[in-house]
Symmetry: C2
């Protein structure tokens, strides 16, 4: 029987907040519930809207603040679209990247590749750069949208 991974992640996030002496407030819980359960990038505004559907009185400023907090804790990461605007999704543990549907924005993760890192590092060194990080996103069409 498959556990809901969103629930699991939520529990972990709450523990990490406590470990950092951050209070577990309704506003933070609402944002976290939405983010741990989502399968596509969400903007601050979208998170705000979704939270309001279930709870009242969640300020948009608190959404931004919670996003910053979760981002500092590396629990979420920014997602860039081809056409500009940004959104957030849960951060991936281990070396993983996102594949995002250009139609419905649904996203799935796929594993990185060790040889990839070596290649990136080598390409950087050729040019005198110390490669610290890379940003990789795949764009395509998901099964439902084909």
């Amino acid at each position: 029987m498959s556990q809901d991974t969103g629930q699991q992640r939520l529990r972990i996030w709450k523990r990490i907040l406590r470990e950092h002496d951050l209070r577990l407030t309704p506003a933070r819980k609402a944002v976290m519930e939405i983010l741990t359960g989502c399968d596509r990038p969400l903007t601050a505004q979208e998170i705000h809207d979704r939270a309001r559907d279930h709870r009242h009185s969640l300020g948009i400023a608190s959404v931004y603040r919670t996003l910053d907090t979760l981002s500092d804790l590396d629990l979420i990461q920014r997602i860039h679209h081809l056409q500009g605007c940004e959104a957030y999704g849960p951060a991936l543990t281990g070396h993983k990247h996102f594949l995002i549907c250009t139609e419905c924005e649904r996203m799935v993760a796929f594993p990185g590749w060790d040889e990839l890192d070596d290649y990136f590092k080598a390409e950087g060194e050729k040019r005198g750069y110390q490669v610290k990080d890379h940003w990789l996103q795949l764009f395509g069409v998901c099964p439902e949208c084909q």
Copy 2:
């Protein structure tokens, strides 16, 4: 003797504009001169500032319009930073990506890898996705900033 590739690129861009029945105006020339000669991502505001240093009366709206135009023609591409905001840089011909210095933002291009495409496509197919595009940026520290 090495030609200034910026100058070359500028000539090509002007030709492409004409081929698309787009007029060669001072505003567009100014934005293109700056972009073809730049070695780091520039925001619309930065382009506006630089243009004003050399020419007067370039409206910020025209900068945005020209960026859209050049983007539609695939002459420039958006650059995303790890921390949110966006900028533009000249688009790369062929299959190339950017390596950006996290200190000074200077960027260099490096070639893509055919096996990489195959890998991306395969990872997508495993999940039922048709992979159309990928977004890859490397971040590191350039020789001067080390």
